[in-house]
C-alpha cells in the first residue's frame, strides 16, 4: 500500500522564557493509505501535539514530514492551508462547529475555500457527506439545536466532505456519552471500511481497540507501534 505519511525524526520543542519543553522527540512514523491508526498515551505525552503536526496546524522544530509524496515542513502558510483543505479532514473532541452556520453550511465550509468547485458541486458533496453520517434531515438546523452526538456526526461529515486523504480525529468521543460515542466510532469504522485513512487520538481503550494499529506515546516518544492493543496501554488509560 502507498505510504501516505512519513515522519522522520520529527521534533517539537516549546520554548517559554528560558525553559525548553520537548513535546515530541525523534518521531519516526509511516502511515499507509487506508490504515486506521490510533495514537494513545497518558495526558501530556504529546498525542495532540503529534496530531497538530500531522494536520499542519502547527510547525515542527526539526525533522521531516512527507505527506502524500510532498515534503510539507518548509512550505508557506498558503500552501499549508491548501493541503489542510484538500488532504486532511479534522474531527475535534469539542466538535468545533461554527455556531452561526447551519449544519449544511458547516459541512460546506471547507469546500468554500476551494476555488475549483462550483456551487452545485459543493451542494452535492455536502449532501453526500451528510447522508453518510445520516444527518441529511438536519441540514438547516444550527449546532445549538443538535445533541452532542449529532454535532459530532456533522463534524465527521465536514471532515469527509472534501474527500481528504486522511481523517485526523482528536478524542472524537471525549465529549460524548457512551451511546453516542459508540455511534461515532461505528461511523469511523464504516468510513475506514469504505477506504478512508484515519488517524485518531483517544483515551478510550475501547475506541483504541477498534483501530488496526496502535501507536503509544510516552514523554514525547513513540514507545510502541503494534497492530494490537498492548496491555500497558489499557492500564495507562485506565
Amino acid at each position: 500500500m502507498k505510504t501516505l505519511i512519513k515522519l522522520t525524526n520529527l521534533k517539537k520543542v516549546f520554548s517559554t522564557d528560558e525553559v525548553e519543553t520537548h513535546a515530541l522527540s525523534d518521531i519516526n512514523l509511516e502511515v499507509k493509505q487506508g490504515e486506521y491508526l490510533s495514537i494513545a498515551g497518558p495526558s501530556g505525552c504529546g498525542k495532540s501535539t503529534l496530531l497538530s503536526l500531522l494536520g499542519l496546524l502547527d510547525t515542527s522544530s526539526g525533522g521531516s514530514y512527507n505527506l502524500n509524496g510532498h515534503d510539507v515542513v518548509d512550505i508557506n502558510g498558503k500552501q499549508r492551508a491548501a493541503i489542510r483543505n484538500k488532504e486532511i479532514g479534522f474531527v475535534f473532541q469539542s466538535f468545533n462547529l461554527i455556531s452561526e452556520l447551519t449544519v449544511a453550511e458547516n459541512v460546506a465550509l471547507p469546500l468554500t475555500y476551494r476555488k475549483d468547485l462550483s456551487k452545485s458541486q459543493r451542494a452535492e458533496l455536502v449532501t453526500a457527506a451528510l447522508e453518510k453520517v445520516d444527518m441529511n434531515h438536519r441540514t438547516k438546523h444550527y449546532p445549538s439545536q443538535l445533541s452532542g452526538g449529532q454535532q459530532q456526526r456533522v463534524a465527521v461529515a465536514r471532515a469527509i466532505a472534501g474527500n481528504p486523504s486522511i481523517i485526523l480525529a482528536d478524542e472524537p468521543t471525549g465529549n460524548l456519552d457512551s451511546k453516542n460515542a459508540e455511534l461515532v466510532m461505528a461511523l469511523l469504522d464504516k468510513l475506514h471500511a469504505e477506504g478512508a485513512t484515519i488517524c485518531m487520538v483517544t483515551h478510550d481503550p475501547r475506541g483504541a481497540k477498534r483501530a488496526e494499529r496502535v501507536i503509544e506515546i510516552f514523554d514525547g516518544r513513540i514507545v510502541s507501534d503494534s497492530p494490537t492493543m498492548p496491555s500497558q496501554i489499557e492500564e495507562a488509560v485506565a
Binding site: L57, K78, A81, R84, N96, L97, I98, Y142, P143
Partner: protein, 809 residues
C-alpha cells in the same frame, strides 16, 4: 455586608485590570463631561429662571415680520399701546426704550447705552439704588424735570465716585439732566445698562406711521402658559394687521423668555442640535462601555456559572456586575464634573471676551448646585443603562452548559448578534453625529470666509449719534458729516471717509415696500427689503460693483426726487425681467414719496451671513436726501489691513470730539473685528460642535475598534477552525471584512440619511450646511475605521498557529 463585599470585589477587579478601567473611565468621562458641560451651559444661560421673585414669569415680547423674528425695540409704540389695553395674559405689560446716548459733563463726553423706563421696570427687576431714588411714573409726565439714574460705572468714571452726585447735572444728548440716583454695579436688566431715564415715548399726537419703536416686556399672570400668551398675541396682532394693513401686514408677535430673546430666535434649534449631539455622544459612550463590560462578563462566563452552581441568586450576580459599572461611572462622573467645570470657566472667559455685548446678568455658566444634581442623576442613569444589559445578558445563559463547556456555540451566537447590533448602532450614531457636527463647523467656516460684497480688511468703522437738540434739521446733520469727513481726511493714513446706516455684517432696517403699479388689495401682503442710507461715495469706498445705471451723485440732493440704488437680489426678486432702471417703489410705513431706481450694484450681506440675510434684497438710499442722526463712519485706510494702523482709533475719536464735543465716536474698530464680533456667538457654537465632532470621532473609533476587536478575539477559535479546514489568511480577512461591510452598510444606510436629515433641518436656519464632500468623507472615514478595526485584530489572531487558535478560550 454583601453589598460591601460586592463593592470590594468590584474595586479589586477594576484595580486588577488597569487598562480596562482606564479605557472605560476615559470613554465615560468624555461622554459625561460633554453632557454636564452642555447641561450647565444651557441651564446657566437659558433655562434657569431670572433671579427675581417673578423671574419664571417675566417675558420679552418680540415681533415677527415676514417670518423674521425681531427682539428689542421692535414694536411701534402705537401697537404697544393698543395691545396694552387688550391683553389679558399679563400682570404687567409694559415697554421701555433702549438707545445709545451721549453723556457729557463740563470736561468730557462719552457714549453709553441708555434705558428709558417706567416704574414697573425697576419693580419687576427688584432694583434697589445704591443711593438716591429710582425713576417713578411722575418723572415721565410731560413737563417734568429731566432726571436720570446713573450706573456705578458712570458714577465712578464721570463723577469720580462723588457722594454728592445727587442733584448734579450732566448733559444727556445735549439736554441738561439731573442725577437722582446711582445703581449698584451688579444691576443689569434686561441687559447691561449705564443710565436710566423716564419712558416718555407715546403715540399720542404722533402719526402711526411715524411712531417710535419700543421694546415690550411683561409678567405673565400665574397659570398662564407661553402658548396661551402667544395665541392671544397672534389674535391681537392679526386684528391690528386688519386695522392697519399698510403698516402691520405680515407682522405678528411672539412671547419669549428674556433668556431666549437675548440669545436670538435661532437659539431653540441650536439648543436642540446641541442636545442631540450630546445625547448621541453619551449614547455612544454608554454603548462602548456597555460593550466592554459585556465582553468582560462573557470572559468571566465560567466564573459566573460556578457562582450560580454554588447557589448565588441571579439578582446578586447582576448586582455584583452592576457595581462595576457604577464605580466606573462614578469615577467618570467626578472627573467629568471637574473637567466640565474647568471647561466652563475657560469657555465663559472666552465668550465674555469675544462677544460684542456684555453678557446678560442672569448668565451663571458654571457648575452650580443644579448641575451637580443633574450630574449625579445623569451618572446614575448612565451607570444603570451601561451595566444592566451586560449583567442581565451575562447571567441569562445556561450555566450548566457553560460549566460543561459544551454549548458555547449557542451563547456565542447570541453575543455575536449583540455585537452586530452594537457595531451597527455605533456606525449609525457616529455617522449622524459627525455629519451634524461637521455640518455645523463647515457652515460657520463658510460664514467666516464669505464675501460680504464689499472690501473689509482696509476699513475702520465707528458709530456716531448726533444730539437731537443740537441737530434738529437735515442741513445741520449734513454739515456735521461733511466736517467730520474733512477732519478725518487730514490724517495721512486715511484715504477716504464715508457714512452708512448699516455696515456690512450688521443688521439693516428691513421694511415693507410697495412697487409702483402693483395693486396689493385690501389685505396687502407687502414684500420687504432692507433699506440702507449711504453717503454718495460709499460704493466707491467699499469697492462695490455697479451693474447698470448710475451711483448717487450731486443730482441726488435733499430737495430733488428721491432715488435709490438697488442690489442684484432686489432686481431678481421684484423685477424678474431685469428691467429696473427708472422703476419706482416706496417704503410703506414711512409713506414718503416714491423712490426711483437709478442703479444696480452687487449684493451686500447685512447681518450674520445666514441664507436669509444673504438672499435679502437691499435698497440703498442717499443720506444726502435723508440724513439721520445715527450713522456709521466708514474710514478707508491706506494700509491693506486696517488693524495694522497703530493708534488710529484714538486719533479718530479725538478728531471727532473736536468736531462736536457732544457726539463722541463709539464702537471704533476695524470692519473685520466688527464682523467677527457679530459672528462670535456662532463661532462659539461652532467650536463646541468641533469638540463634539472630535469626541464623536474618538468614541466612534474606539467603539467600533473595541467591538470589532472584541468580536474577533471571541472568534479566535472560529478562526482556528476555519484555518484547520483550509482557509488561508486572505480567506479569513475576506470573511471578516464581508461581515463588517454588511454591518457598515446597514449602519450607513440608517446613519447617513439620519445625519443628512439633521443637517437639512439646521440648514433651514443656516446653522449647518451639508456638502457632498462631507457626505462622502464621513462615511469614508467610518469605513476606514471599520477596516482598521477588522484588519488589526484579525492580523493578531492569524499570528497564532491554528492549533493555538483552536485552544483559545
Amino acid at each position: 455586608m454583601d453589598i460591601l463585599s460586592d463593592i470590594n470585589f468590584a474595586l479589586r477587579t477594576l484595580i486588577k485590570n488597569p487598562k480596562f478601567t482606564a479605557l472605560t473611565v476615559f470613554v465615560m468621562t468624555t461622554g459625561l463631561t460633554l453632557c454636564i458641560y452642555m447641561f450647565s451651559f444651557i441651564h446657566g444661560s437659558i433655562v434657569a429662571p431670572l433671579p427675581f421673585e417673578n423671574g419664571e414669569r417675566i417675558r420679552a415680547v418680540g415681533t415677527i415680520h415676514n417670518g423674521m423674528h425681531y427682539q428689542g425695540a421692535s414694536f411701534r409704540v402705537h401697537d404697544f399701546e393698543d395691545l396694552k389695553k387688550r391683553v389679558q395674559s399679563y400682570e404687567v405689560f409694559d415697554a421701555y426704550d433702549v438707545a445709545t446716548v451721549n453723556l457729557s459733563t463740563s470736561d468730557r463726553a462719552v457714549r453709553y447705552t441708555g434705558h428709558y423706563v417706567t416704574e414697573n421696570f425697576f419693580e419687576i427687576s427688584e432694583a434697589k439704588p445704591l443711593f438716591g431714588r429710582l425713576i417713578t411714573n411722575e418723572d415721565g409726565v410731560s413737563g417734568a424735570e429731566p432726571v436720570a439714574v446713573i450706573s456705578h460705572t458712570i458714577w465712578q468714571n464721570m463723577f469720580a465716585g462723588d457722594k454728592n452726585v445727587l442733584g448734579k447735572k450732566l448733559r444727556i444728548n445735549s439736554k441738561p439732566t439731573t442725577v437722582i440716583g446711582v445703581m449698584p454695579d451688579s444691576y443689569q436688566f434686561p441687559s447691561a445698562g449705564r443710565v436710566w431715564m423716564p419712558f416718555t415715548t407715546t403715540g399720542k399726537g404722533v402719526a402711526r406711521k411715524d411712531g417710535h419703536y419700543v421694546a415690550v416686556y411683561g409678567v405673565l399672570k400665574g397659570g398662564v402658559t407661553d402658548k396661551q400668551a402667544d395665541a392671544e398675541l397672534q389674535i391681537l396682532m392679526a386684528e391690528l394687521a386688519e386695522s392697519y394693513p399698510k403698516l402691520n401686514s405680515n407682522t405678528s408677535a411672539h412671547v419669549w423668555t428674556l433668556q431666549l430673546a437675548a440669545m436670538g430666535s435661532d437659539t431653540p434649534i441650536i439648543i436642540l442640535a446641541m442636545e442631540l449631539a450630546v445625547g448621541f455622544i453619551l449614547l455612544l459612550a454608554c454603548i462602548n462601555v456597555g460593550n466592554l463590560l459585556f465582553s468582560r462578563a462573557t470572559e468571566k462566563g465560567k466564573e459566573t456559572a460556578i457562582r450560580t452552581a454554588l447557589g448565588a441568586p441571579r439578582i446578586r450576580l447582576v448586582m455584583q456586575m452592576m457595581w462595576e459599572s457604577l464605580l466606573i461611572c462614578l469615577i467618570s462622573g467626578v472627573l467629568a464634573v471637574l473637567f466640565a467645570g474647568l471647561w466652563l470657566e475657560v469657555a465663559n472667559r472666552d465668550v465674555l471676551e469675544s462677544f460684542p455685548f456684555d453678557p446678560p446678568f442672569w448668565w451663571n455658566i458654571k457648575i452650580t448646585q443644579t448641575s451637580l444634581i443633574a450630574a449625579v442623576v445623569i451618572t446614575l442613569v448612565t451607570a444603570f443603562i451601561t451595566g444592566i444589559l451586560p449583567a442581565l445578558k451575562a447571567t441569562s445563559g445556561d450555566f450548566n452548559a457553560t460549566l460543561r463547556d459544551g454549548t458555547r456555540g449557542a451563547q456565542s451566537k447570541a453575543s455575536g448578534r449583540l455585537s452586530k447590533v452594537i457595531v451597527i448602532s455605533e456606525v449609525v450614531l457616529s455617522c449622524a453625529l459627525l455629519l451634524l457636527s461637521t455640518g455645523m463647523v463647515y457652515s460657520v467656516n463658510q460664514q467666516n470666509t464669505i464675501d460680504y460684497g464689499t472690501t473689509v480688511e482696509d476699513i475702520f468703522t465707528a458709530s456716531v449719534g448726533l444730539p437731537e437738540v443740537a441737530y434738529e434739521n437735515d442741513e445741520k446733520r449734513q454739515q456735521y458729516y461733511q466736517n467730520l469727513a474733512e477732519s478725518l481726511l487730514t490724517e495721512a493714513e486715511i484715504s477716504a471717509v464715508s457714512f452708512t446706516r448699516a455696515l456690512p455684517g450688521n443688521g439693516a432696517s428691513y421694511e415693507n415696500i410697495a412697487l409702483d403699479n402693483v395693486d396689493y388689495g385690501k389685505n396687502p401682503q407687502y414684500p420687504s427689503s432692507s433699506s440702507v442710507g449711504v453717503d454718495h461715495n460709499y460704493f466707491a469706498v467699499m469697492e462695490m460693483n455697479l451693474r447698470e445705471g448710475r451711483l448717487f451723485d450731486s443730482r441726488d440732493k435733499i430737495d430733488s426726487p428721491l432715488t435709490a440704488v438697488v442690489t442684484d437680489n432686489f432686481v431678481n426678486k421684484f423685477f424678474k425681467d431685469g428691467d429696473v432702471l427708472g422703476k419706482r417703489f416706496k417704503f410703506v410705513e414711512t409713506d414718503k414719496d416714491w423712490y426711483t431706481v437709478i442703479g444696480v450694484v452687487n449684493d451686500v450681506i447685512h447681518g450674520q451671513p445666514m441664507s436669509y440675510n444673504i438672499e435679502k434684497p437691499t435698497a440703498f438710499i442717499s443720506i444726502q436726501q435723508t440724513p439721520k442722526r445715527f450713522m456709521s463712519v466708514v474710514i478707508k485706510t491706506e494700509a491693506d489691513n486696517a488693524a495694522s494702523v497703530t493708534g488710529l482709533s484714538e486719533r479718530v475719536v479725538d478728531i471727532a470730539l473736536k468736531v462736536e464735543r457732544d457726539a463722541p465716536l463709539y464702537n471704533v474698530k476695524t470692519l473685520r473685528n466688527s464682523i467677527t464680533a457679530r459672528n462670535a456667538g456662532m463661532n462659539f457654537v461652532s467650536e463646541l460642535f468641533l469638540v463634539f465632532a472630535i469626541a464623536s470621532m474618538v468614541l466612534a473609533f474606539s467603539g467600533i475598534y473595541g467591538v470589532m476587536s472584541n468580536t474577533i478575539v471571541q472568534k479566535t477559535q472560529e478562526i482556528g477552525i476555519r484555518r484547520a479546514l483550509g482557509a488561508d489568511n486572505s480567506d479569513i480577512y475576506k470573511h471578516f471584512i464581508k461581515q463588517g461591510v454588511k454591518q457598515l452598510a446597514i449602519g450607513l444606510a440608517i446613519g447617513l440619511p439620519m445625519g443628512v436629515a439633521l443637517v437639512t433641518m439646521l440648514e433651514a436656519s443656516s446653522i449647518a450646511q451639508g456638502s457632498l464632500m462631507l457626505y462622502f468623507v464621513i462615511p469614508a472615514f467610518i469605513s476606514a475605521v471599520m477596516l482598521l478595526a477588522i484588519y488589526y485584530p484579525v492580523q493578531r489572531a492569524l499570528k497564532m498557529e491554528p492549533c493555538a487558535a483552536l485552544r483559545h478560550e
